[in-house]
């Protein structure tokens, strides 16, 4: 354990000083502060919205959650994708493992350090957002709001740690960082863009939109308002949603909405789907509603970490490859 703490301290210092981390941190901080500012302005106009609206992005649809949906994978993966293979090729790993530590201290320490760096990023960002909002609004969160914010912070850390664990897995299974960075980018693109396209395609195949031929008399608007057509759209939407649930980002989005007490669909990155910020779910209800998603993300994290742990312990350590 002592070994893991030493490794963790060194890795954390590396992260905090790395350009990669600093750039991503700054980016998230600037965008989040901006969204908090907008959120606070919205709350000023709509006092019934409540403090929580700071995080839900209000009418701009540009929220902390949507930022994390989009940037979360890249933040987590970027802290993990070269954790093992870089040291393997450089030869520092064989030097490290010649020290009196257990081999798992290395991977535990690296995972801990990554999680700590991600927690710092999350807590700082959410803290600053709350501070900005409070100074604009002149009032703070209620106890209920505060509990939601804390739970939401934990959810975000869990979600980012999942991506970190996936990156760690990539760095364990590949020998070259150029391969693992490629895998990371592919993963990011897949979950943030490709999966939505696939979902739409599948929905289109399964439930094609058929326009009745004999619309000579009736107008389009009437058809669009018809119950059959609405049912069609509902089915398509549910297919798309279920496919997108493969994506941890989507799960995070859903869980986040439930915890923050915002109902009403997904919070898109940008666009009108930004979610009406009315509190519909009580705290406990929200937590219960988000439980399946939270469990799924946690399971994904555990699977990725255990896989990289086991692989790392069996790794043939030879300098240079």
């Amino acid at each position: 354990m002592a070994g893991a703490i030493t490794v963790c301290r060194k890795e954390l210092a590396d992260h905090l000083g790395s350009k990669r981390y600093i750039v991503l941190f700054a980016l998230i901080l600037v965008l989040s502060t901006l969204s908090a500012y907008q959120g606070a302005e919205y709350i000023k106009d709509n006092p019934q919205a409540g403090f929580i609206a700071v995080f839900s992005g209000a009418r701009f649809g540009f929220s902390f959650t949507s930022l994390m949906v989009f940037f979360g994978p890249i933040i987590g993966l970027s802290l993990g994708f070269d954790a093992i293979n870089k040291e393997r090729t450089s030869g520092s790993l064989s030097m490290l493992l010649s020290q009196p530590i257990y081999r798992d201290s290395v991977i535990n320490g690296k995972f801990l350090a990554g999680t700590a760096a991600l927690s710092l990023l999350t807590v700082t960002t959410i803290g600053i957002m709350s501070g900005v909002a409070m100074s604009i609004l002149g009032f703070g969160p209620t106890l209920d709001d505060a509990s939601r914010i804390i739970l939401f912070t934990l959810l975000t850390i869990l979600y980012l740690a999942f991506w970190l664990a996936l990156g760690l897995l990539y760095s364990t299974v590949t020998k070259k960082t150029s391969t693992s960075i490629l895998m990371s980018v592919a993963t990011w693109l897949f979950f943030s863009i490709v999966i939505a396209i696939i979902a739409a395609l599948v929905a289109n195949l399964l439930v094609p939109i058929t326009m009745p031929r004999d619309t000579s008399g009736g107008n389009i608007a009437k058809i669009l308002r018809s119950p059959e057509f609405r049912e069609l759209l509902r089915r398509r939407f549910s297919i798309q949603m279920n496919i997108q649930r493969v994506s941890p980002a989507y799960l995070y989005n859903e869980a986040g909405a439930s915890i923050l007490g915002i109902s009403g669909g997904r919070l898109g990155f940008i666009g009108p789907g930004g979610g009406r910020p009315f509190k519909s779910l009580e705290l406990i209800e929200g937590l219960t509603a988000s439980w399946p998603q939270i469990t799924a993300i946690a399971a994904g994290l555990v699977i990725c970490f255990v896989a990289s742990y086991v692989l790392f312990l069996r790794l043939e350590i030879r300098p240079g490859g």
């Binding site: 070994g3 030493t6 060194k10 790993l93 064989s94 030097m95 010649s98 009196p100 043939e316």
Partner: protein
Amino acid sequence: MPEPIIETYELTKYYGNVKAVDHLNLTVYEGEIFGFLGPNGAGKTTTLLMLMGLTVPTSGTATVGGYDIIKESREVRRIAGMLPEGAGYYEDLTARQNLDYIGQLNDIPESEREKRIDELLEAVGLTKWANTKVEKFSRGMKQRLGIAEVLIKKPKIAFFDEPTIGLDPQGTKEVRDLMTQLNKEHGLTIFLSSHLLYEVQQTCHRVGIIRGGRLVAADTIENLSKNIAEKGRMVIEFKLTEIRSDLIRELEAINGVTHIKRGEDNRLYVYMESDRSREVSETITKHGSIILLMKPKEHSLEEIFLKYYEREA
């Protein structure tokens, strides 16, 4: 009587069908510099990695400093240090930071750590570069940093895997001198893997020769050389004042002499199956020639080791 400090028992490592190390039995004694010689791919690195617990043996085991390399591999790493083949460092960190990290991993308290780092940087000649990032280091400087990293734990045993590879003559000499000095002054047992014969001859008390994963010999260089000489033929080089053809004929008639070769400058090389140097020199004097020089032709190191490498091929 020196105590054994490293003992391997039928130590074996297979990579698929490749026998990297094949039932190796080896003993290294406390306080010696042991040279581990062998051609490329002989299994030197694999042996070292197994002894330090970086690779798990397929079968067999070993003890290092009394600790079992499988069950107590962490204890082994506490008392033994290794400079692996192709060792690397944290390029973003300075020499001092690199050393400090290794020191922390060895649970050396901070004040003690700082003291040792200063001493070691001095010993390997990196004091001036203490606060320079390792990415700016030359190969030789990195190698010296590596040696410092091995020594920071004050090991009883140090494993060096081809430590002078890629170093210039000056750097090579420095590394060798440092090894000899550590051995003499601190009684450090050194296990040196190398295929540089001269290096081994200069520094090692005893050598083990490994080929195809098997130990073919383990002894002092002197004894190894003698063994080869006894098994092969003996050659004596003479330099005479004059050589007449009937002398050569008469020498060839001596029982045990196989043949004679003439060299330039009135030299003669006498090949014999057993030591006939007495008869040979008597015959020469009888013929009125004076012996200016007479010495057994030595087997070069290369010859000796090639013989061992080739054996049971």
